[in-house]
Symmetry: C2
Subunit: 114 residues, 2 copies
Amino acid sequence: MRNHAEELRALQDTLYFIGGKWRLPVINAICNGHRRFREIERSIPGITTRMLSKELKEMEMNNLVTRTVYADTPVLVEYAPTAYCRSFGTIIQEMIRWGRQHRKTILKGRADKP
Amino acid sequence: MRNHAEELRALQDTLYFIGGKWRLPVINAICNGHRRFREIERSIPGITTRMLSKELKEMEMNNLVTRTVYADTPVLVEYAPTAYCRSFGTIIQEMIRWGRQHRKTILKGRADKP
DNA sequence: TTATCTGGTATACTCTATGATACTGGTTAC
DNA sequence: GTAACCAGTATCATAGAGTATACCAGATAA
């Protein structure tokens, strides 16, 4: 209730930063130890190469990941999470919790069908 | 790392449920005590009547809010949050926290500009 | 009387996020 | 030799989320 405007602004900033449907799944994948491009791609069924590529670029620009190229043969590329990236941990955990609960509730056939 | 697939599914369920850019702001407004249509509308600068109307309809269908009409003159409509609606509390709070922290960090001129 | 509040609906438009598909150049395995 | 891996890029198409604007009927205030 108090300082609704400021809360709203903070909330909207976060929503804006998160943006589309892939940002959080990608952050989660990387924070869960997936480092290589194809590895991340495989760990998120449904994402296309194009979207992952776009996400990773933006995330690098926003300092959410670092991209390291090991110029051996074959070239190896590694994406690693920054502290900034990990700062989404609690949000993601809460969302996972909610999603699990939601699924349970739906399966029990209640809650969103009263 | 463990059961990444299940976590991902839960996360994506939540993201899907949240949907667009207005769902969480509207939930927040209603949970913060705004009950009337125009009141909610005013409390979220930038939202249009059309989007708010759409959101509220979907939210009613999803059992996130109840819509009560008091048929006095003038007719009075009240939107109230359900428990389901309030279950987003922690997610929203975490997002507000993140947004505030983000703003601080940006203002200090660091973090996302290394 | 005119303006302003209420709770919305209707129509038209924009735009961008996402999806689908194909391709590249190099490496390694069969 | 060809198939499959790597890390992507390029091009095109499209749904639908979001915006803009105007409008309705009824009540209230100036």
